[in-house]
Symmetry: T
Subunit: 67 residues, 12 copies
């Protein structure tokens, strides 16, 4: 097993927490190579006019360090 690094990300989605996680991974995949896993750290939401406007998630993402 190579050495890996863990980075904390937050993201949001108007639909669901699971979708917010995918949002975070989609963005991480643009700049980080070797993503191997994630862990959900917190699930929050922003409320506007009595309704959930944004599902917000904080996750820890793991990616393998090259060479």
């Amino acid at each position: 097993m190579a050495v890996a690094r863990v980075t904390r990300l937050t993201a949001a989605s108007p639909t669901s927490w699971q979708d917010a996680v995918q949002e975070a991974i989609g963005r991480a995949n643009k700049t980080l190579r070797g993503l191997t896993g994630l862990e959900v750290v917190s699930q929050k939401a922003k409320i506007i006019d009595g309704e959930i406007a944004e599902y917000r998630v904080t996750i820890d993402v793991t990616f393998v360090l090259e060479g």
Copy 2:
């Protein structure tokens, strides 16, 4: 930013944890003005006859205090 208060709620849904959160927010919105956000504290479920009968959630809800 005005002073806000945080209150803990629990709710349930036969469908999903996300639905149970919406249940809690729907109820909170009847009596609390100025809801701004929430955080999921725990996700549990009640099991009957080997199947999940109720998705139960505990959340912390934040609402702004007036004047």
Copy 3:
């Protein structure tokens, strides 16, 4: 209330964390009688080629001990 026991399980699903929880309960129900509830302990995911390949969940399952 009878004495109950709590056991920790992990399971995975290609679809969602909620589905992974159902996977765990389905398996538990084969060998444990008297399941009454569960609590989500952690939500992780395995990433392959920049996409979530497996939603993984750890849960604590409670079941009543007979006699």
Copy 4:
């Protein structure tokens, strides 16, 4: 299951922690309808002249919200 709310209380008794919990519930029952459960958060004591003068308890009380 209706939506419920969780409130934190502290109380004291010269006799025991269990008695302090009853003290808190007795008071809560005067103003809160629909009490369903409690959880002990901390057990402390005040000491005077080398003896325990007051058993103090902090509990989280749950009560169902009407309508």
Copy 5:
């Protein structure tokens, strides 16, 4: 020191938390040999009509594994 295992149990009593712990140990002793100790994990209670109807306890029980 032999290898030991730790198992989580919950039990209830109409009288006290300490009695609920004894209830759990009495039941555990029927099926587990070699019990050596326990640790209290949580103390809760069920409230009916404004009074504590059941003292509920969660404990971790340790027992030595034979051979």
Copy 6:
């Protein structure tokens, strides 16, 4: 010692965390009688243009319940 209740508040100040705590207590004192103490739960800040624009604090406030 009378039964007391604990409530969570958040507040902000452009100056300091200590000032944000005073802001919260000033507001609480308008509607809650019998305030006896507080505990700091978290200290955050909002950053705009590379500078701290708001010191935000979450506190638990205790107040004695009358009669």
Copy 7:
């Protein structure tokens, strides 16, 4: 308020956890002046022949430092 110090103690009783706490305070009072309070940190028990032989408690004791 004078500066105070917090020290961790463990004690046991054949009767109850509350009695074990009193045991600890009785001993602390022999050598520490100015005891003002305590907090329960953990409640364990030793089991012999399927019965609780010793209720063991860990507490944090606070005492005021003189001059």
Copy 8:
């Protein structure tokens, strides 16, 4: 990924914590099939005559459930 179960074990060694972990795994392997991993929960030691007599470890062991 099959459903797996997590069980807590404690073990001891006169030599080192790492050796105590191996002791626990050796014993677990006698009765549990499908061991896949472990996590160290706590590292303690027993002291006799001012020297460490036993390195004690608590671990969580994961094993895959068959069928």
Copy 9:
């Protein structure tokens, strides 16, 4: 690096939490030699007549043991 010891202290100040920490260190310095550092454990306050009367702090103080 020599062996060091960590001791928990509490102190209060009418002015600020930072001042309360200095109060604790000033007192500790009278009887403990070799103080090297501290960590803030909690920040509380006593409220009288709706105003903060005392800023209270709990800290862990480290000091090197001689010889």
Copy 10:
């Protein structure tokens, strides 16, 4: 809301913890664009000759990821 990243920083100041936080933000602002917030993780201090020589703080800084 764009995807954001959270990074942990430590900094020190001879004056106060609040100043140490500003020190950290000032440095972060040199290399990280899009800073939006921070949370205090720990407050420590270095003591020399019985006096606080350095207020040290650990914070989690959040910044929005571009594109």
Copy 11:
């Protein structure tokens, strides 16, 4: 004291947890200048055929930020 940053790493070794920590530091030293310290966050292991195949460690590494 300069501003420093804390990064989380995971690494593995067939020999021991201490060796896995050295593995992580060796890799970190290739790309990060100014390493000053580390803290162990978790110690896990992968088991194959009833034996520990890989000691895995998660650590937080601190390094000073230049200029």
Copy 12:
């Protein structure tokens, strides 16, 4: 079981964390009678020139109080 006290110590070793623990116990044994056990609280290390220069450990030591 007599009343016992728990004290927190830190120590370092150029060789290993286990050696650092022995260092702490060796020092504690000079001034404390009746040592019975210890628990590891944290494992850190100091890094110089990209190599671990000191393994540092924090432990809680228990010793029986006489008479």
